[in-house]
């Protein structure tokens, strides 16, 4: 089953693997903080009215926040 969607579509508590970025404008800092293709992530928190999303990087248990607009260009494979 094809399950490639963007990261912002995930609900709280859902896990996924990062596949790729749809934009080249995303700075390298996303990689440096752990959003590397192949990484397992879990959505933990969402600020209301399309605010930032809090995402746990599963392998090192780090909690990273990004904007919804950035989550939209991160393609994931749901687990």
């Amino acid at each position: 089953m094809q399950s490639n969607i963007s990261l912002d579509k995930l609900k709280i508590g859902e896990k996924a693997y990062i596949l790729e970025y749809l934009s080249t404008e995303i700075p390298a800092k996303f990689f440096e903080l752990g959003f590397i293709p192949g990484t397992e992530i879990e959505v933990k928190y969402k600020a209301p009215f399309n605010g930032p999303i809090g995402i746990r990087i599963v392998h090192n248990n780090a909690l990273i926040a990004i904007r919804k607009s950035e989550a939209e260009v991160i393609l994931i494979d749901t687990i």
């Binding site: 990689f31 293709p37 928190y45 600020a47 009215f49 399309n50 930032p52 090192n60 909690l63 926040a65």
Partner: protein
């Protein structure tokens, strides 16, 4: 003698500052890096006959800079001619995020700097159920690994003993992906003296400040011919390094359930809750501002009393004369005007640094980003905007950690609209004069007006941000990514040191300006041209032969001010302020306020011949000022000078106008541009004039 320089390098929230405080044992100072205003924390450590210079570099995830703070790190580590170029770098790591620190360590070594590796917060290893193979780590990094707990001092001696060590040769771990080989070869011919990795770093950044313009251009041409972007190069490196690290995952293992014993998630469930999270945040804000006003009260009274006592002591001990007056009314009053702000600044920064220490500040960014983004601001703008309620000077400085240049600029430009504590005394006096002391639906009208003025400040800041956002072009796409660190108990030493740094910074930086302005004002107010000023005493005595000694001297003071340089300036600008409903006396107050708002009340008291040591905090004296001001008649209109229309007009003027030399100075320093500083000053003051004009013309 050149002491060896030891630089501490590490991610944010790894306890680097605690380690720095331990190593230097308070023997430290905070300055600025030349040209830019990134805090430079430096200290001394003496061991036996040797002294080391310890430099605490700003926290960063990699050597690639995303913000001004991170730029400093790269410039120091990559430029061997830099005055702070270290002899040894100590990479400080969080055991839970070892890989990130390993990458930072590798980057430092490959760029050509000797480095050792410290795993700090070693107590967390057990708490989080981690198992670290230190031997394997040492082998991988080819260096000694140290284990410390900066909060208890554990492991520090061994670390200090290693400061003279020369770490063994390090072979790079990063193989440049073959796709970039050609470009890198071309770049290497430009930098024959640098390591290959240093050259790669140069190629992977837009602009390197310490190399020549020709070489920067040459690098840009290489990127262009090979169709490379700096971000692509940086990502390729990050990808390659992480891949290497994940192949070797036997260094750190997590035992059993790692989330056990970590209350962060449970706390975040409440603090990041879509409803309670905001309720708690605004509750906390409310508490902080209550604390700023109520807790600081007794301290401010004590400071005020002390300076009053000082002035009277000087007057009794020293002979009368212009020099003594300069000392009391210029210097002592000026210093008093600075010191009086200390309690509020201390309390504000106590809360801010506590919030940062605990890890709550990034949660505030998480909650607020959504609401500030439509105005072209960033979640991180919350901190400057909030701090600005105490004072715009430290607030503008706190905009530094905003990565996006445009968002940082907009934040700095709109921050002074927020109602700072210096506006408060003016608001209190003016509201007391023109707003009736009655209640509507059980709410005090005067208190409501004060609250309204605070709201007005916020609205003005957000609206101007919105306008600026439309005008200023963005060079980089706005993005936001930040870590929400695990909650920690605060390290009180860090908190207190931070409060001390910020407070002393205010006293020295803003203090210099406030002091010099108050001296200039004293001179302008104490001297005047011609007969009328010099013979004021005879003239007044002739005019009011029946007055008592005390009243006579007040009349003389008032007459003197009227005919002093300051008085003439006030009269000269009267045509400008007349449409706003002010007379020349209020004009003097306005001019004086351009130095700093807080001098308004004192200046008005002088002009209205009440003597200038009026304390509006004290009820009886406040009543004196109020009744005197209430009975003042504007000679142009024949109406009371402070009627409803002119009072509202004055309140609006103070709410919007840029009347603070210290803020202008700090904005110039932080933006590095006179253009933006002048635009800001012009815009704010123009808006103030416009609002005051409209209000007066409608209400009169």
């Amino acid at each position: 003698m050149n002491n060896p320089i030891i630089a501490l390098l590490g991610n944010p929230n790894v306890g680097k500052t605690s380690l720095f405080n331990r190593l230097t044992n308070l023997n430290q100072k905070v300055g600025n890096y030349p040209g830019i205003t990134v805090d430079k924390r430096e200290g001394k450590l003496t061991k036996g006959a040797k002294t080391y210079r310890i430099v605490d570099l700003p926290g960063t995830y990699t050597l690639y800079p995303n913000s001004l703070d991170e730029q400093v790190v790269f410039n120091i580590l990559a430029d061997s001619n830099h005055t702070d170029y270290p002899n040894l770098v100590v990479v400080v790591a969080d055991p839970a995020q070892l890989n990130r620190s390993i990458i930072l360590y590798q980057q430092a070594r490959e760029i050509g700097i000797p480095a050792i590796f410290v795993v700090n917060m070693i107590d967390e290893v057990e708490k989080k159920g981690l198992v670290i193979d230190f031997d394997k780590l040492a082998k991988k990094l080819n260096t000694k690994i140290f284990q410390t707990n900066a909060r208890t001092g554990e492991g520090l001696e061994q670390l200090i003993a290693a400061f003279d060590e020369k770490p063994p040769l390090y072979i790079g771990d990063f193989a440049v992906p073959t796709a970039f080989n050609k470009a890198l070869e071309e770049a290497k011919s430009l930098f024959p003296l640098h390591t290959e990795y240093a050259t790669w770093q140069f190629l992977a950044q837009e602009h390197i400040s310490f190399i020549s313009a020709e070489k920067n251009n040459a690098l840009a041409r290489i990127r262009e011919t090979h169709k490379l972007t700096t971000q692509a190069l940086q990502k390729a490196e990050s990808l390659a390094r992480n891949k290497r690290l994940s192949m070797d995952d036997s260094i750190v293992r997590t035992q059993a359930d790692s989330s056990k014993g970590d209350p962060t998630h449970a706390i975040d469930k409440i603090l990041l809750h879509p409803v309670f999270g905001y309720v708690l945040f605004f509750g906390l804000l409310f508490f902080i501002f209550q604390a700023i006003y109520t807790w600081s009260g007794p301290f401010m009274d004590a400071i005020d009393e002390f300076f009053g006592y000082l002035v009277s002591e000087i007057h009794t001990r020293l002979p009368e004369g212009p020099l003594v007056n300069l000392l009391t009314d210029g210097v002592v009053a000026g210093i008093g005007g600075i010191v009086i702000f200390i309690p509020q600044i201390v309390i504000l920064f106590l809360f801010i640094s506590l919030m940062e220490e605990i890890g709550y500040m990034s949660r505030v960014v998480f909650l607020m980003d959504r609401w500030l983004r439509p105005f072209g601001l960033n979640g991180k703008s919350v901190i400057p905007l909030m701090s600005s309620v105490a004072c715009a000077v430290p607030a503008v400085m706190s905009a530094r950690n905003i990565e996006n240049a445009k968002e940082r600029l907009v934040t700095m430009l709109v921050t002074p609209f927020m109602t700072c504590s210096a506006r408060l005394p003016i608001y209190i006096v003016l509201i007391g004069l023109v707003i009736p002391d009655t209640t509507v639906w059980g709410i005090g009208l005067q208190g409501m007006t004060l609250f309204g003025l605070y709201i007005l400040g916020i609205v003005a800041a957000l609206c101007s941000a919105w306008i600026l956002n439309k005008i200023i072009k963005n060079t980089h796409k706005s993005f936001l990514i930040f870590e929400l660190p695990t909650y920690k108990l605060p390290d009180w030493k860090n908190v207190l040191l931070n409060v001390w740094d910020k407070t002393s910074g205010f006293v020295i930086d803003a203090g210099k300006i406030i002091l010099s302005i108050s001296i200039v004002l004293w001179v302008l107010g104490s001297f005047g041209p011609g007969e009328k000023f010099n013979n004021a005493e005879e003239l007044i005595k002739a005019e009011y032969p029946t007055l008592s000694e005390e009243e006579l001297s007040k009349e003389i003071t008032s007459y003197k001010v009227e005919h002093s340089y300051l008085g003439y300036i006030g009269m000269a600008i009267e045509p400008v302020v007349k449409p706003l409903g002010y007379d020349w006396k209020m004009g003097i107050g306005l001019i004086a306020s351009f130095a700093a708002r807080e001098v308004f009340v004192g200046t008005m008291a002088t002009v209205y011949s009440l003597g200038d040591d009026v304390d509006i905090e004290e009820e009886s004296q406040k009543a004196t000022v109020l009744s005197r001001m209430r009975s003042e008649i504007n000679k142009n209109t024949g109406l009371p000078a402070y009627n409803f229309a002119s009072g509202i007009s004055l309140l609006l003027f103070y709410a919007f106008a840029m009347q603070c030399m210290s803020t202008i100075a700090i904005v110039k320093k932080e933006t590095g541009s006179w253009k933006w500083t002048l635009i800001q000053t012009g815009f704010m003051t123009g808006l103030a004039y416009f609002a005051a004009f409209v209000a007066y013309q409608l209400l009169k």
